[in-house]
Structures are given as structure tokens and as C-alpha cells.
Symmetry: C2
Subunit: 201 residues, 2 copies
DNA sequence: GGTACGCGGTGACATTTGTCAGACCTAGTC
DNA sequence: GACTAGGTCTGACAAATGTCACCGCGTACC
């Protein structure tokens, strides 16, 4: 039996995935978690073969949880299952030691097949996504530019961001300006969208 | 047997929900659709008792599809199952004739229970959401203000929006300004976020 | 030692954005 | 007919935003 834990914040989706996998004779869902933090404690207790993680979760996200899990349970393989196939997500997921990257747009039957391939030692990646990740270069944003862009997401003004990051307003403007240019956008909103689409945040 | 069709754009979630409902002895998933448009053709063919719709779908969204379905198949009850419980969504869903409004945060076992209650003629609404909808007033945005706000979402400039909606730039600025005030925001980004949270878009 | 890069800052400048007052037209309501 | 609300427009103004040039500091790397 392949022992699997699920981490996914939406309870109904989590339960539905569990029932989907429950139909497979060789797969056993031995634990569930609603956040990255919860996953780590559950995995420590049940010692799964495979952890199936969503990226978008409250608290620690799926990619961060993947990295922690690789440290604490090296024998457990990590699979990322997420809504959006952003190239940057894939890159970060692979760097944090994931064995698979699936998107929720794929047919449901592929999930069990992917789990078996990962258990056999293969790496499973959506081919279209792999191509996109190779064609898109690495993240051009410096850490600070990234911080400033993220802080501007909820409609904050320059002075809000400056206060929040303990910077001068001029510095914030400079970072924002260079982030806008690096994303070849025309304003912060567009820059935020482009960077988000690439998975640079 | 209760005959159900599912409409949900993410194939894996759709398949998982189907397998979840497949476990219930009195529920039969007789059709699936990946968009609002597809739902209407599928429902016309299989004549279900209940349609379970996600809101966020490409093309016709779940609420619009609910309205159309009520016209073409008055005997079929509509249930909305969605990620976010925005008050405005609930209001619009109810106005378009939905019998239930569930959020994906709820436990998986509640889904089958809700389906049975709807089949029995009840209306099922998340109590916390109902309270939020009652406390939040109706949508204060005029149709044009709403259009302009939506068009500004992807980082468009004033002149982009003006060209797109065939308006003068001054007019766009005026609408945007009044939308910002009605949402008590400080700029369009914040206004967009507030309006989105309320389900006013 | 020189060079490059990221971080943090200043000051000046042009453009964009948000606000306000006012105008005209239409459709509905009392 | 008067009144209101929404839609469309203009012009003017202040504030916010984006760009540019330039400075200093530290830490890499060759």
C-alpha cells in the first residue's frame, strides 16, 4: 500500500480528493492537513510515503512546507498539486525538493497514476508547464523589489509601504520603479500581475 | 435516486467531487461540465434533479448559468458551491433562483447532506454567510461605475479604460472617483479589492 | 585592488491620478 | 410640470506616482 497524506485548505476539496484516492486499491490516505504547519505534525506522526500538497494555504504555503518536510522526513516524497501552473512556482517547487508538479486542470484519473509513478521513483511534471518554465527565465526581481511589490498588492500607498518596511518613501519609489521596468509593465498594478503570472512573488 | 450534474472548471476537483458523491447510495452523478455553457447542454440532455455549480468558471459564470437553467429547466434545483463566501455573491445567487449556497471550506460530508435537504425542498445557506449578507447593504455601485472598476483591474491606465469603454478620459476619472468614495477606499486598487470582497463586481 | 551588484538614500521633474464644480441629456417618479 | 438619478462631458487643481541622476555602504568575485 502507498501511504499518502493530503494538505489542502479547502475542506470539501480535501475530502473529495481523499474519497477519489480511496477508490484505488493500492493507495491509502493516512492523514489530512489544512495548512503547511499542520502537515508537518501529521506527517511526523503517520510517516507517509508521499505527501500531496496544495500551494495556496494559510500560514506556511505548500512550497515552504515541502522544504521543511524534506528535512524532517527525507524518505517521504513530495508532490505539489495546485490551481495555477506558474513557471516560477514550478521552479521553486523543484528547488525545494518536490518529486511532482500537477495542476488541478488535469483529469482526475491522472492523480493516482502520478502517485504510482512517484512511488516508483519517477518525477512527474506537466509537459506544457515544463516547457513554459524553461522558456521563462529566472526571477529578475531582487528580494527588496519583491517585498515592495508584494506590499503594494492591497492598494497601499507609497507611504504605507515605506512605513511597513521601514524604508524612506524615495527608496520605495525607486524599487517600485525598477520592478515595473523589469516586468515591462506600465504601473505597479500591471507589474504585480505580470510578476504573479510568472510566479515571481 | 437523486440525479445530479456537476459544473466546475478544474477537472481534478470535479472528478474528486464526483467520486465523493458516488459513495452515497442515493445520489447519482449523471453529468459533468467544465463551464456554464457546457452545463446548459448537458442538463438539457440528462434532465437532472439538481445542478451543483461553481461560480468561478470561464465563459458564463455559475450565477449566470443558474439563471439560464431556471428558465430552461424549472424543475431542476440549483446549488452554488464556491470558494469564497462573498455577501454579494450570495445575494446574486439567491436572486437568480439558487436553492443552496455552500462554501468549499465546509466539511466534505455536508455536501451530500445539503443535496438531500435541497431535494426535500429546503433552502440551504451557510448561516455565517447569511448574517454577513444581511449586514452588508446592497451594491452601491452604479452599472457604469462597476464597468469602469472592472476594466481597471488588470492595471489599465485611464486612457486604456476610456478607449475600451468608448468614453472620455474625464468621464472615466469621474466614475473611478465615485467608485473609490463609495467603497471608502483611497485609490482604485483598494476600491477594486473592497468591491471584490463584497461581491459587488 | 578593481569591479559589479544589491541595499538605502536624496532631490528634481513630468505624468498620472483623484477630486471638485459645473454643464447637458434622458428616463423615471410624484 | 417639477424633481431626481444616472450617464456623459469639460476644465481646473492638488496630490500621488513613476523616472532619472546621483551619492554612500557593504559584500561578493576576479
Amino acid at each position: 500500500m502507498i501511504r499518502v497524506v493530503l494538505a489542502e485548505d479547502q475542506a470539501m476539496v480535501r475530502g473529495a480528493l481523499a474519497s477519489l484516492l480511496g477508490l484505488e486499491p493500492d493507495i491509502d490516505v493516512v492523514g489530512e492537513a489544512a495548512s503547511g504547519d499542520e502537515l508537518l505534525t501529521v506527517a511526523a506522526r503517520v510517516q507517509p510515503d508521499i505527501a500531496l500538497l496544495d500551494i495556496e494555504m494559510p500560514g506556511m504555503d505548500g512550497i515552504a512546507a515541502a522544504g521543511k518536510l524534506r528535512e524532517s522526513l527525507p524518505g517521504c516524497r513530495v508532490m505539489i498539486l495546485t490551481t495555477f501552473g506558474r513557471p516560477g512556482y514550478l521552479r521553486r517547487a523543484m528547488e525545494s525538493g518536490a518529486s511532482a508538479f500537477l495542476v488541478k486542470d488535469s483529469p482526475a484519473r491522472e492523480l493516482a497514476a502520478a502517485i504510482r509513478r512517484v512511488q516508483a521513483g519517477e518525477r512527474v511534471i506537466d509537459p506544457a508547464l515544463a516547457a513554459a518554465a524553461l522558456s521563462a527565465g529566472p526571477n529578475p526581481l531582487s528580494p527588496r523589489e519583491r517585498d515592495v511589490l508584494i506590499a503594494s498588492a492591497n492598494g497601499s500607498t507609497i507611504s504605507d509601504i515605506a512605513a511597513h518596511l521601514h524604508l524612506s518613501e524615495g527608496t520605495v519609489r525607486n524599487y517600485l520603479s525598477s520592478a515595473i521596468q523589469k516586468t515591462s509593465a506600465r504601473n505597479r498594478t500591471e507589474a504585480l500581475q505580470r510578476a504573479g503570472d510568472q510566479g515571481w512573488l
